[in-house]
C-alpha cells in the first residue's frame, strides 16, 4: 500500500491521532532553541514559517504572502498575511517577526541551526505594520530556503517574552494545532486551533484542521514502535525500519509515506585532512572497493535508492554521477598499488612502510539507523578484500562529537538537513574545517579547495537562478570527482500510517509530516 489515500470519502471531523516518534524526545519544544530534527517534527504541527516549498522545490508564500529583494540583494521586504494571529491572540505583524529574528540571534536562546541560517542577517526593520525588512551583510541566495525551515518558524512575541522554560514547555505559534500539555518522557498533547486561518498554498483545504487532537509519543525501540502500530495503539510512526516498511507495503492495514529529507544525501565523508585519505588515489580506491549497491538492495529491500550525489534527491539542483561510484575491486587494487600500498600483511590488509591501511570510522549510534550500521559493516567486509582495514566504532553522540573534534577519524557519516543547495557551502567550504570552540565543524571531509570555496561563496550570493544552478553544479562535480564523499542513499525518512489515517503528508521543506489535512476514518 502507498500513501495515495482515496480522497473519495468526505473528511471526518474530530478524533485523536497518536504519533509515535523514534527520535529522541526534544528537551525544548521551541525549535529556535538548539534546533534539531525531532523539534522540527513536532513543531511543524503548531508553528509556521514565513515561506514554504512546494513539491517541485519552488518557494511558496505562507505567513508571508509576498516578498521583494532589493537590487543589491542586501534587503528583503516581507509582506505578512493579513489578520493572522497566534493562538494566544497576539496578532502576527512586523514586530512579531522582528522579535523572532532577535530571539534566534540572541546567544541566550542557544539557537544553533536557526542561528547559523541567519548568519548574514544583520538587522530588521518594521517598514509598516505588516511589512518587515531583513537587512543583510551580503546577498544570500539561500535566505528564502533558510526561512522556510521549521527552525526559523515564527512564534508569538508575547510568548517569547516569557522565560525560556515556559516557552520551551509550550511555544505559541499560528499553526493548525497548539501545545496543550507535555508530560516529559511520556507524550505531548496537541489540540486543534479552531481559529486557524493560515494554511500554506499547497494545503488540501482551508479553515481549521479536521483532527481534534494529536498525541505525540516517543518510542525509541523500533521493534516496539512497529508493534505498537500493528496493534493499532498508534496511528503513525516515523523512522520505520526497512523490513517493517516491506511488511507494510505487503499489508493492507498500513501505508507507507516516503519523504527523503532535503539537504545533503546520506554519505560517507572521507577525511582528506590526514593520511591515508589525504591521497586522492586511496580515496578513490576505497570508494571503488566498497560494494554499496548490493548492500543497499539487501538491507533496504528496495525502500531506498542508491544515491550518487552530494545532495538529496529532494533537491532540484542535485548532480548525480553514477559513473564515479561503481564497485570495481580490480581498479581499486591497481589504485592502491600505484598509491604505494603494495604489500599485504598476515591479516590480508595493505601495508605501506610498516603502516597498515586502516580507516577509523566512528559511528554515532544516535544518528545512524541499524540498517545504515549494517551497511557500514558490509562496506567494511568488501573493502577488506581490497586491503582496507575499516575500524567501525559505534559510540554515543557526545563521544562521537569528541572524536570528530579531535580529527580522530578517517571516515564518518553525518546527516545534514537543510533546505536548498546552500548546504554544500556548509559541508564543503574550507571555512567549515576550522572547528568552533565546541570542536564542532561541518566539513567532515575537510575539503580544502580554493576553487570549490570560490564557487560556493559566489553561488551563495548570486540571485539569478540559472547562474546559481550552474555554480552549484560545478561545485558538486568538483567534490564528487575529488572522491571526497561516498554517497549512499537519500537521508531516509519513512513514515508508516495506519490505513485509517487519511490526508497526512510531509511538508516539502524538511519533509516533516503535517496533519493539517489529515482525518481518521
Amino acid at each position: 500500500a502507498t500513501a495515495e489515500s482515496p480522497e473519495a470519502t468526505e473528511p471526518v471531523i474530530g478524533g485523536t491521532l497518536t504519533y509515535a516518534s523514534g527520535d529522541a524526545e526534544p528537551t525544548c519544544l521551541d525549535p529556535h532553541v538548539g534546533g534539531n530534527y525531532p523539534q522540527a517534527l513536532v513543531s511543524t504541527q503548531y508553528l509556521e514559517s514565513l515561506v514554504s516549498r512546494d513539491a517541485d522545490g519552488a518557494i511558496i508564500p505562507w505567513l508571508a504572502e509576498s516578498w521583494t529583494e532589493s537590487a543589491d540583494g542586501l534587503a528583503w521586504d516581507f509582506t505578512l498575511a493579513a489578520d493572522v494571529s497566534f493562538t494566544d491572540g497576539t496578532p502576527l505583524d512586523a514586530a512579531a517577526v522582528q522579535a523572532n529574528i532577535a530571539h534566534l540571534q540572541d546567544p541566550e536562546t542557544g539557537s544553533s541551526t536557526g542561528y547559523l541560517a541567519l548568519a548574514k542577517v544583520t538587522g530588521t526593520e518594521a517598514v509598516s505594520a505588516n511589512v518587515v525588512r531583513l537587512v543583510l551583510s551580503q546577498p544570500d541566495s539561500a535566505l528564502l530556503e533558510s526561512l522556510s525551515q521549521p527552525w526559523l518558524a515564527i512564534e508569538s512575541p508575547t510568548a517569547l517574552a516569557r522565560s525560556q522554560d515556559e516557552n520551551c514547555a509550550a511555544p505559541v505559534g499560528t499553526g493548525p494545532f497548539r501545545v496543550e500539555s507535555w508530560v516529559q518522557q511520556e507524550s505531548i498533547t496537541l489540540v486543534r486551533n479552531d481559529d486557524y486561518s493560515s494554511p500554506p498554498e499547497d494545503a488540501a483545504h482551508t479553515g481549521p484542521a479536521y483532527l481534534d487532537s494529536i498525541v505525540w509519543r516517543f518510542i525509541p525501540d523500533s521493534a516496539s514502535r512497529y508493534a505498537a502500530l500493528q496493534s493499532g495503539d498508534v496511528d503513525v510512526i516515523d523512522n520505520a525500519q526497512p523490513d517493517t516498511i516491506v511488511q507494510a507495503e505487503k499489508s493492507d492495514t498500513i501505508v507507507h509515506l516516503d519523504a527523503p529529507r532535503p539537504g545533503a544525501s546520506n554519505r560517507i565523508e572521507l577525511n582528506s585532512g590526514r593520511a591515508p585519505f589525504n591521497d586522492p588515489l586511496v580515496r578513490e580506491a576505497f570508494i571503488r572497493s566498497a560494494n554499496v549497491d548490493d548492500a543497499v538492495t539487501s538491507l533496504f529491500q528496495g525502500t531506498a535508492d542508491r544515491s550518487y550525489s552530494a545532495l538529496s534527491s529532494a533537491e532540484t539542483l542535485a548532480v548525480s554521477r553514477p559513473d564515479l561510484f561503481d564497485y570495481d575491486p580490480e581498479a581499486a587494487s591497481d589504485l592502491l598499488d600505484s598509491a604505494g600500498w603494495t604489500e599485504r600483511d598476515s591479516g590480508g590488509y595493505r601495508v605501506k612502510d610498516g603502516e597498515r591501511l586502516t580507516v577509523d570510522f566512528p559511528v554515532s549510534t544516535n544518528q545512524s539507523i541499524p540498517a545504515e550500521q549494517s551497511l557500514f559493516e558490509q562496506i567494511q567486509a568488501t573493502a577488506k578484500e581490497t586491503g582496507f582495514e575499516v575500524v567501525l566504532s559505534p559510540m554515543d553522540l557526545s563521544s562521537w562529537y569528541t572524536a570528530l573534534g579531535e580529527n580522530d577519524y578517517d571516515a564518518v557519516s553525518a546527516p545534514y538537513t537543510k533546505v536548498g543547495p546552500d548546504v554544500l557551502r556548509i559541508l564543503f567550504h574550507s571555512d567549515g574545517i576550522i572547528p568552533a570552540p565546541s570542536g564542532y565543524f561541518a566539513n567532515h571531509s575537510q575539503v580544502n579547495d580554493p576553487a570549490i570555496d570560490a564557487l560556493l561563496t559566489e553561488a551563495g550570493q548570486v540571485t539569478d537562478a540559472d547562474e546559481r544552478a550552474a555554480l552549484y553544479t560545478d561545485a558538486q562535480n568538483k567534490v564528487l570527482e575529488g572522491f571526497h564523499i561516498l554517497p549512499l542513499f537519500d537521508q531516509q525518512n519513512h513514515y508508516l500510517l495506519g490505513t485509517d489515517v487519511v490526508g497526512a503528508r510531509a511538508l516539502p521543506t524538511v519533509s516533516t509530516p503535517t496533519f493539517y489535512d489529515a482525518w481518521l476514518k
Binding site: 546567544p107 541551526t113 507524550s187 514502535r225 557526545s398 570542536g439
Partner: protein, 323 residues
C-alpha cells in the same frame, strides 16, 4: 534453650534507639559516598558536558551557545568547587538542574519515580506469586513436577530481560495480538513489562522458596500438625508457606535493586516513562545532575527497602523479635 525475655525493657528501649541512630548514620554515609562516587565517576568520562547539554541529533552547537551554557551551569569552575556546590545543594534536597532536559532534576525524577515504583512493586508481587505457586506445586506433585519446577526456575532465572521482553512482544502483541506492546495508559499495557521483570526474579525466589519449603515440610512441627489430622492444604497454608517465605522476604531488598537494573532495559523497550529510562538517557548524554539524582534516589530506595525488609522479617518471624 536459653530462657527468653529476661532482658529488662528499659535496656532494650535505649538499645533500639542506638540501633536506629546507627542505621541512620549508615544511611547518610552511604548516600554521601554514592553521591561522591557518581559525581567523580561521571567527571572521568571523556568529552565536554557543554556539548552534552546542547548535544542532540543533528544539532550544530555554536561557540556562543557553548559559552553561555558553560557559564550557566558553572562548568567553567574547578571540579572541586562544582563538587562542593553539588553536595551543598544535595544537602538542601536540591538535585540541581538537568543538563539535557533543561529542567529541575528533583521534580523531574519524582515525576519519573512513580512509573518505576509501580512497575517494581507489581513485578515484585507477581514474582512472589509465581515463585510461591511454582514452589508449592513442584514440591507436592511427584518427581516430574519436581524436575519441571526446578527446571523452570533455573531457566526463568537465566532469562535476560531484553530477550524475554522481545519474545513476549512478538508472542502476545504481534502474533496473538492480545496485549498492546506499548501503552502507558491502562492495565493492559502493564502486563508485558511486569511479566518481563517478574519472571526472572520469580526464578530466583522460587529456587530459595523450594529449599525452605522442603526444610519446613520435613520439620517435626509439620509431622505433629499432620498427627493432629491436618490436611495437606492445611499444612501448607497454616505452616509451610510462611516458613518458605522467610528467606525470600530477606531477599526483597536485593530483589528491589535488581528490579531497578531491569527497569533500565524494560522501560526502554516498552517506552515507559520511568527512572531507569531517564537514567540510561542521562548517562549516555552525561547529564551529571540527573545521574547523581537518580542514583541517589535509587540508593535511598535501596536503603528504605532494606529497612522495610528487616521490618517485614521481624513481623513475619517472631524469633527475630525475641532477639
Amino acid at each position: 534453650m536459653a530462657e527468653v525475655g529476661r532482658g529488662t525493657r528499659i535496656v532494650r528501649g535505649s538499645r533500639a534507639v542506638q540501633v536506629v541512630l546507627a542505621r541512620l548514620g549508615g544511611a547518610v554515609f552511604v548516600l554521601w559516598m554514592v553521591a561522591t562516587l557518581t559525581f567523580f565517576a561521571i567527571r572521568l568520562i571523556p568529552g565536554d558536558p557543554a556539548e552534552a547539554i546542547l548535544g542532540g541529533p543533528g544539532s550544530q552547537t555554536s561557540p556562543e551557545a557553548l559559552a553561555a551554557v558553560r557559564a550557566e551551569y558553572g562548568l567553567d569552575q574547578p571540579v572541586l568547587v562544582q563538587y562542593l556546590g553539588q553536595l551543598a545543594r544535595l544537602a538542601t534536597g536540591d538535585l540541581g538542574r538537568s543538563y539535557s532536559l533543561n529542567q529541575d532534576v528533583a521534580p523531574l525524577l519524582v515525576g519519573q519515580l512513580g512509573g518505576t515504583l509501580l512497575l517494581a512493586v507489581l513485578a515484585l508481587g507477581v514474582a512472589w506469586l509465581l515463585a510461591l505457586g511454582l514452589a508449592t506445586w513442584s514440591t507436592r506433585g511427584g518427581r516430574l513436577a519436581w524436575y519441571l519446577g526446578s527446571g523452570l526456575e533455573i531457566v526463568a532465572a537465566a532469562l535476560p530481560h531484553f530477550w524475554l521482553a522481545t519474545a513476549l512482544i512478538v508472542l502476545f502483541s504481534v502474533w496473538l495480538g492480545w496485549l498492546p506492546p506499548i501503552s502507558t495508559s491502562g492495565v493492559s499495557g502493564l502486563v508485558l513489562p511486569v511479566l518481563t521483570l517478574a519472571v526472572p526474579l520469580a526464578g530466583f525466589l522460587g529456587q530459595i522458596m523450594r529449599e525452605s519449603l522442603l526444610t519446613a515440610l520435613e520439620s517435626p512441627f509439620v509431622l505433629s500438625a499432620r498427627a493432629r489430622g491436618e490436611s495437606e492444604r492445611g499444612v501448607r497454608w497454616m505452616h509451610v508457606i510462611r516458613h518458605a517465605s522467610l528467606p525470600a522476604i530477606s531477599l526483597s531488598g536485593w530483589a528491589f535493586g535488581s528490579l531497578l537494573s531491569g527497569a533500565v532495559v524494560v522501560e526502554t523497550i516498552f517506552a515507559r516513562p520511568g527512572l531507569g529510562r531517564t537514567l540510561l538517557n542521562a548517562v549516555t548524554v552525561r547529564d551529571v545532575p540527573v545521574v547523581v539524582g537518580a542514583v541517589l534516589i535509587v540508593a535511598v530506595g535501596y536503603i528504605l527497602m532494606t529497612l522495610l525488609t528487616d521490618l517485614a522479617q521481624r513481623i513475619a518471624d517472631p524469633r527475630l523479635r525475641a532477639g
